[in-house]
Symmetry: D2
């Protein structure tokens, strides 16, 4: 966290609680400028072996201090994540409380890194100093976000929230006056991309199969939203059904031109999420993919680059996979060798229902596998070339558990002298309550990223961050 000092400086403008005193940080009312030294190794293969040349790069970061007025458009706003996202913001804004048998519960933003995590700054001689993440730099609060969205189902958000079974009934009633008026905009439904069992839900769709018209329709929705709320920044986030993978082939979607032509030609392999991503880019809105499908084909990435918007993300990792990353890293960095990793999941919400078909599950499976592949590459002592642990992922649809997803894992490691260590985990991880705070974080960090520019130490040319971001790795 070498670069935190720019945050602290910015912060003094705002809260006056933290004052940064550093020659590398300069700041005025509008902007903070930070000089940052990145140390990085360069490698070259020589006759004598691998040559490592540590280098220090100096960058200058300029961050506009004032957050932009930001709108968030959710694809799948009527789903569990969607209705939970919208409802929880009202609940927090109005500081709602509700009774549970354990006592009175208050709305909160637990699980949001931007809202609930802290950053370690150092030791002051007597104690460790930690400050809230949100005090480092001026960022949006979820409360500041203006939200709307699309859904293939026409239930209003009060109905959608009841269907989701995520909030307690008393909270649902308190939210009713705010949620009932919100009705999702009609969305795009191409049955081939999601499970057949979603057909019943699709009663709120843009008519016809002309993909070009669909694109225009969505673009208009984005423009209208921006205008209506006088927004400086719009973010479109896919939290709808996982689609099957699309083909990625030359002539179809390998360049910006190809993908636009394919839309015009009404090509079968253009998915709903492709349309939403393209519409966003063309309207200057940033696009975040919260499901595991391969929306971001090369042509769409090229298009984003041209239009200078951010696109990124491949699924939220909030439950089993997130903790798998932590555990596998723990094991391998302890010199233990995972030999078998078996991950069973079941859930009863609509995500589970959609994933119960093979092609949609396949998208999810690919997304969940990579964490283990990385670990195998990282340690050739434990995994001499070619060796891999057994790794098995199962997702089942079990209606009774609803949104209360269950993950059951078994990890077996080879340890010292042929011994085995076996971890068995049962994890009850409320699906939407874990994913929703990540939706806020992604939106908030995307907005922040739009305010940051960097240049080499000469300050000649300031650039934005690269336009493709992975959902989990958005840096500050």
């Amino acid at each position: 966290m070498n670069g935190f000092t720019n945050g602290l400086a910015a912060n003094q403008q705002k809260s006056k609680r933290l004052i940064v005193d550093s020659p590398y940080v300069r700041c005025d009312e509008n902007e903070i400028e930070t000089t940052f030294h990145l140390r990085k190794n360069h490698f070259s293969r020589t006759a004598a072996g691998l040559k490592v040349t540590p280098k220090e790069h100096e960058y200058v970061f300029k961050t506009h201090l004032k957050p932009k007025k930001t709108g968030l458009l959710l694809v799948g706003i009527g789903g569990n994540n969607g209705s939970t996202s919208v409802g929880a913001i009202f609940a927090n804004k109005k500081q709602m409380t509700w009774r549970t048998k354990e006592g009175v519960q208050t709305a909160n933003y637990f699980g949001s890194v931007t809202q609930s995590a802290t950053v370690h700054l150092g030791w002051d001689g007597q104690q460790q100093i930690h400050v809230p993440f949100k005090e480092i730099l001026p960022i949006l609060s979820p409360n500041d976000l203006i939200i709307d969205g699309w859904d293939i189902n026409n239930q209003n958000l009060y109905q959608a929230m009841a269907r989701a079974k995520v909030f307690e009934p008393e909270l649902q009633e308190k939210l009713r006056p705010y949620m009932e008026p919100i009705v999702p905009m009609p969305s795009i439904y191409y049955p081939d991309f999601i499970a057949a069992n979603q057909g019943d839900r699709a009663n709120n769709t843009i008519p016809g199969h002309n993909k070009k018209e669909h694109l225009e329709h969505i673009r208009r929705d984005i423009r209208d939203f921006k205008e209506k709320h006088d927004l400086e920044c719009v973010i479109v986030l896919w939290t709808a059904n996982t689609e099957r993978y699309t083909d990625v082939v030359d002539g179809l979607n390998m360049t910006a031109e190809q993908i636009l032509t394919s839309v015009d030609a009404n090509a079968d392999e253009v998915s709903p999420s492709n349309i939403f991503a393209i519409a966003s880019i063309l309207e200057g809105a940033h696009y975040i993919n919260g499901s595991p499908q391969n929306t971001l084909v090369p042509g769409i990435i090229e298009l984003a680059r041209k239009h200078n918007v951010f696109v990124g993300g491949d699924d939220f990792k909030s439950g089993q996979t997130k903790i798998k990353s932590a555990l596998v890293d723990f094991m391998v960095s302890s010199g233990l060798k995972p030999e078998s990793i078996v991950s069973y999941n079941h859930l009863g919400n609509n995500d589970g229902k959609n994933l119960s078909e093979a092609r949609q599950f396949r998208s999810k499976e690919i997304s969940k596998s990579s964490v283990v592949d990385d670990m195998v590459e990282a340690n050739k002592i434990l995994y001499p070339t070619g060796e891999k642990p057994d790794h098995c992922i199962v997702i089942k649809y079990v209606p009774f558990v609803g949104d209360s997803k269950r993950a059951m894992d078994e990890y077996i490691c080879s340890i010292f002298m042929g011994g085995l260590q076996t971890f068995v985990i049962h994890n009850t991880c409320e699906d939407s309550l874990l994913a929703t705070p990540l939706i806020y974080d992604l939106a908030i960090l995307t907005e922040l990223a739009t305010r940051i520019q960097y240049s080499d130490s000469d300050k000649k040319e300031f650039r934005s961050f690269h336009e493709v971001r992975s959902g989990e790795k958005l840096p500050v």
Copy 2:
């Protein structure tokens, strides 16, 4: 890992595989000198708020490249960790194999960070570069260690290994010619410090209750060992029974003088581990505490400082507590709030038997609690002042499971909007097979630490590292 470059440079002396090209690294046949810039925040309280002043400190590190001839003396060499430590080195040196129903097993050093972990150096444009930890700097291999030790029981190490039930019978037989000749040196037994159920084992003890004579006896053992093997470095490591806490009071053990006077006065509150630590220090041997008792009272630390030896350690965290650190850190840094952490353990080896008495368990319990306290301090958003999660630790003695320790944990977190996430873990963690690699690592890293000196950038005065190290945090 800002300081890794000195390691790379050193390494080029040795393996010629990695060549470091940096103005901050200079190295000759004997020594490597590295300039290192440590960035650190300084804090001061001002009227306007907390003032943070980032500063960069330049240090120069000098590391002798040639590892010293090192001896390791284990207190409790006949215990499970002790016999496993000795046996596994023979098995690795001789590259022993043995049959299991799953196939032929080969001796290894899995679970040792120095032997089996890798370090990430960077991205070469095509792939991530990881190198084995042991290739960064010249360090000892466990195979290089010369081991001997004391035990209150007189079984030779072949018998001890059989009693431990850690190695397969075929391996035990292959090890027999190496293990049978090794008989533990008599040790110190003060019944008041360990569980009464250990009385039967105590048939190999230094006679009398005169603690001064005991100290001299142990000092002589250390001197003889050093001479016999012509050692440059001796490390004494306690892997014997957990003792009850001793009183820490003025007049008894608050200064070096007090503790030495207390030994002379045969004071009741001087424990066996105190005697071993003092003997080590006075003989210039480093002392590592592998059990949770409070051996390292202020007087002993002062003594170590005077004699310029390392002392450190408070228990091996190899199983439940180690993974608890990883999980709790994962949760809190995700903005989730652990509310209840319940940790049950059972084991059937002699450690479990000794811990089945209340006073010895209390030492263990204190050691295991701290991980959670730190986390509470680190996040005042989740834990406003005064709040703490429920935290409960149980250790039971269940002979049937032997050395195959079982840890059963339940973690409950408050998540977004009043939801709960519950993790349930069953962890079969072979006790000695997890702890033994850490014994090697501690010895190897302690030897390395004796070869490193550092100074300010002026290079006027080179100093050794501070003499008190925590068992888990020995830096490179």
Copy 3:
């Protein structure tokens, strides 16, 4: 279930749904008379070996068909079981519903064997015939019970229900008008018998330490209750704190006379539950012990016999121990040999708080151990004389989990040819929701037992069932 036919016959009086046609069953408007043949082995040791003589005993059972008007007095009515028992009856009587996020929930009697279990009658050629347990014989419904009770705390039952955190808030509010008027009668508090941490709760106690006066006070309470509601049958049930064991010694409580004399003498070792049991017996009320302490000392059993009332029970086995019985029986009758059984529990209700002291826990531990001892006795192939599995039971107080008790068990069995089978179980077992239906069942079956008499086939002398019943084994 050889004796079921009398039930069927009785039932035809009531529901006309089942008609029994058998020469062994005769029945009129008031009574059913059943001839029952019990087959039983008799054993004698002879020179040639053990001689087994199967014999058939003919009994005649007379059952009065009309259930009595019955009152249930709970000791500890303000505790979690107590307030849940009272509240759930109102909720069922009024057919209350309440919303949960999963949907509308209706009051039910799940978990009550008398109300929710069925009995298998046979195969009719096409399907298995099962009938509800409650249709076999006319029995009370929980809705018919009139409930009152004592508590050492003076909160009314609405407050007690809120403190218990068992029912959802909406249900609590619907129950409020029924629960608020009920205030527990003052109870007996002898601090030495329950945990010191219960002292704060004890604000509703009968004054003084004169045990004779306390006995009279409780007797008067029982008489008043009986008169006020014009009851034919009164049952007193202890669901208050687990007490420590009392001494059982001659001169104190070995005969009816001794125990009465000890009350008069205000003897220290006479516990509150002793007083309640004696008061019940002397008032002709039946006494059921729902906690593990040894209330039913020989003197009290003798007293019950003299007064012809039922006394019985030693703890509710609703969670971990109940399932342990099922699992251990499963294992041993499969020829598998349990070697290690480790049972951890934690709970956060007041029961857990009270059991966190050693003497109270000891009562619980004894009660929970016996299930395994029985199994060892039953199979001398697996357990040659003297062998026993390791068996370890832990109960911890973890406030956060409240009434939602967690049981974590590990069973290890030796199987064929030296293999091991390991079961690990995590069981979330709502404490009061599992125990309360058993309270109803015990009351209902006790009332039924008062209506049954039996004689030998000569019908000369009809007797009641024996007066001591174990809590789990009340037969129909």
Copy 4:
């Protein structure tokens, strides 16, 4: 266990330890005759309701006391169950021991009900009387069985045992001289019926695709085996790969004639297990099906009836499903309502590999589902018509775990007043070590069944038991 007395009587002939003194039991040197009264309800639907007529049926049982010389032919003798079955008998006969790190292990028959379970006879006034199951009636010991068999792979049983990874290496070596000479007879391989991944193993098959010749070949094998060992009783037991289901259609296999004609016509839908079953029946050998496929089509059952041999069995339930039966029964008979039952399995032996294909898994899935369906039917209070719990079964092939099968289950029950009880189970259940004792039991009980005849009380006509037996329900 109403009928046990005949066993006791028989036993007095043998062990003289138990003497039965009963008018219903008569016995001489060769035979025991027992009169048994079976009480059973008859049902009829009347206008007034369901009429129940309890009736007592008197039967006379004649049991020949002398066990027959019995041979067991295993289909799949080279598989894990097969090689374990053969090896363990040698190990028990020779009373072999082998060293493990926990100590010396002795061969045993744990897990076999006939060899290791006991039967409760009654209470002798002081203690419960249990006798070993095997002392009730003269039955074979596994040691008495003569075993041979077929396999599609040609490894000898020493090689097969090594491949199975079930026994410790030292035991494998001790068994080598006995196992190495045994080479499986060539078997039948029709690739369409088992997974494609079994193709590599199929190097020991009867040539050609003429099913009629295959039938004759197997018949000849059975005849030769019988003659060679001079056997009185031959049992053929399928413990080979699970096959896919065959069609069951008129014209193909609905009558004995059809199935024989279909063999002659070389019909595609005649499976290998059909051939083995038919061959057995035609040779008078009893046929037990130890896998879940539907071998026993109506035509084969009719054929068995004609030839008066026993056929039966549908899969061994030794692990997860067996304990599921016990747990679900426990729950429902406690009045708790299972709402969701999720059963995950993984294993790494060849059974797992074969089941990793969809059609073979389907056979297994059907077999594992029925236990829950029965429970739903049994309780209409908990499951009003039409309601069913979610039930999900997954089996995955995870090579690393080998024969050490892992079952992970989650059961959620609705309990009292809308509460939930959740059981989570991790079960490490050694696959072949649990199944093999059941193979012995099935063979032993089948042989016993051939010695029992029964008649009505008039003793006019004595019959054998019905020829179709379910694998789990073979009565004594």
